[in-house]
Assembly symmetry: C2
Homo-oligomer: 126 residues x 2
């Protein structure tokens, strides 16, 4: 019984994680969402904030994020085109995910920094 329970739990967990990764997985989606957490941004602003992303990829990611209900795209002017991307309320539901991931990432970075220094006994650098 306990084994079955574990197996079922695992299956459900795998399915849930699968669903999550399907919409917020990949290299950029979470970064874009984080970049928008400090307020709405325009296209080039986003590209500057999310370091390393190309216009082509950013464009595609923004479309998917909009389709999945995480952001809204608003055109504010036509002459010089001004477009603004903003997080929706639904993206607030990612708060726990983002918080735990940021927290873990910071912890892991610290752990790496600490464990990589003591290579040499004379490693008294920096």
């Amino acid at each position: 019984m306990e084994l079955d329970h574990s197996v079922e739990t695992c299956s459900g967990a795998l399915a849930a994680i699968g669903d999550a990764l399907y919409v917020i997985g990949g290299k950029w989606k979470l970064r874009i969402i984080i970049a928008l957490q400090s307020g709405s941004k325009r296209f080039n602003e986003l590209q500057r904030t999310v370091t390393g992303i190309s216009a082509r990829v950013l464009s595609n990611e923004l479309k998917e994020l909009e389709i999945n209900g995480f952001i809204t795209r608003t055109v504010h002017a036509q002459v010089p085109v001004v477009v603004e991307y903003e997080l929706t309320e639904y993206s607030d539901t990612l708060e726990d995910v983002l918080t735990s991931l940021k927290k873990w990432g910071a912890m892991h970075r610290q752990k790496i920094r600490n464990s990589l220094q003591p290579i040499s006994t004379e490693a008294r650098s920096s």
Copy 2:
């Protein structure tokens, strides 16, 4: 000041997320970890549990997971080779990440199921 603070917070968050995604990002790593949460598993067992992964990719992912300290690889027999993969204590630090991600994934799946049904008024199909 508040703006600067936001910008710095965003940068730190982006860096942290970047570190996290670097080691647990991608299509498979979290699924493998979840598959091992119900106990240690062998290679083929893992391949059966983590649906869709090929031997080649599973092998590579396991190596990276081991290098990054999430799992241990133990050889139990040589004649018919028996290898066991097991989560390390360090992978326990991912608990919050996995919990929030599973929770969100389940919520999202439910939301999708609810919002996708009412397409047609006659949509009473299977």
